[in-house]
């Protein structure tokens, strides 16, 4: 990403400002929802959803991921898969055999 024209950069700058405003709005929304003190399940879902949108905006536009090369996409895809494995598999493993059987009468 080097040597782009001024016109391109102008377009980018307008996008950055738009993203900035969106991030601010989403931050206020997520805090407002936080004050609702929803039950844990919905609270986690909403918080993760908003955070993912915010994170996606930062990644796609500030980090230019939306126009990045395939190689970077491959690396990041593998990373995301492994991240999810790391987040979920230990949890499922530790609780396997306990929550599954809990509902058996």
């Amino acid at each position: 990403m080097s040597g782009s024209h001024d016109v391109d950069i102008d377009k980018h700058v307008r996008i950055y400002i738009t993203v900035f405003v969106s991030l601010m709005v989403l931050t206020l929304i997520t805090v407002a929802v936080g004050y609702l003190h929803l039950p844990v399940g919905p609270a986690v879902a909403v918080a993760l959803l908003i955070a993912s949108i915010k994170g996606g905006l930062v990644a796609c536009y500030f980090m230019h991921l939306i126009s990045e090369r395939k190689l970077i996409y491959y690396v990041l895809f593998s990373t995301v898969v492994l991240f999810l494995v790391l987040l979920l598999v230990p949890l499922v493993t530790v609780h396997d055999g306990t929550w599954i059987n809990r509902h058996i009468p």
Binding site: Y16, V19, L23, M24, F62, M63, V75, V94
Partner: protein, 196 residues
């Protein structure tokens, strides 16, 4: 022999060395913070009682910090955009504000931590405080690291602009990627610890 593709992009990959390098590093950082988030999940799900973050932590202060960090991300990308437009003066302003906002974040964290310690809330108090201090502490170390690099690029490192503006612009872009990542982690940290 000169090392090729330090600045110019290699034709088949479309990338220069530094860009790939920083993304690989960020991939490893995703796994690092991922492990800590996995820790949070495992500890919370396995606990008999777990406090809601908002009962212990200062949500308004952290919201302010979130806004600070997001703003610093904008100024960071604007700093890079200024360099792309070859406006060195504007770059220095934006880069300076980025470092400043990082400093504000750290100061707020200092007040936050001091308040916790004052109220006898330490990492050893309970597992919530333990994972809170560990996650935000590691994040804080990354903020400091990013600030050091950004300050270097603002100061002595900016000499490179005179001899090789393209290389310098790439360096600012790559350090910007790291800074955005630090912001990204906080975007997930904030609701996880403070709002749930």
């Amino acid at each position: 022999m000169e090392i090729p593709y330090t600045v110019a992009a290699r034709e088949d990959t479309g990338l220069n060395n530094g860009k790939i390098g920083i993304w690989l590093f960020l991939a490893s950082e995703v796994m690092l913070f991922g492990a800590l988030f996995a820790t949070y999940i495992l500890l919370r799900v396995g606990s008999t009682e777990w406090p809601h973050g908002y009962t212990i932590l200062n949500v308004p202060l952290a919201t302010f910090n979130t806004i600070v960090l997001i703003s610093s991300s904008v100024t960071m990308v604007m700093a890079w955009a200024s360099l792309m437009r070859r406006r060195f003066g504007t770059f220095r302003i934006y880069q300076g504000v980025t470092v400043l906002l990082g400093g504000v974040f750290l100061m707020v964290k200092y007040f936050e931590y001091s308040a916790k310690f004052h109220h006898e809330l330490f990492p050893r108090t309970n597992n919530f405080m333990a994972i809170y201090f560990t996650l935000t502490g590691l994040h804080m170390l990354h903020v400091i690291g990013g600030m050091v690099v950004n300050a270097y690029l603002l100061g002595p490192g900016s000499k490179l602009y005179k001899t090789n503006p393209e290389w310098f612009t790439n360096r600012v872009e790559n350090s910007g990627l790291f800074w955005h990542f630090v912001d990204l982690v906080w975007i997930f940290l904030f609701p996880t610890l403070y709002l749930l």
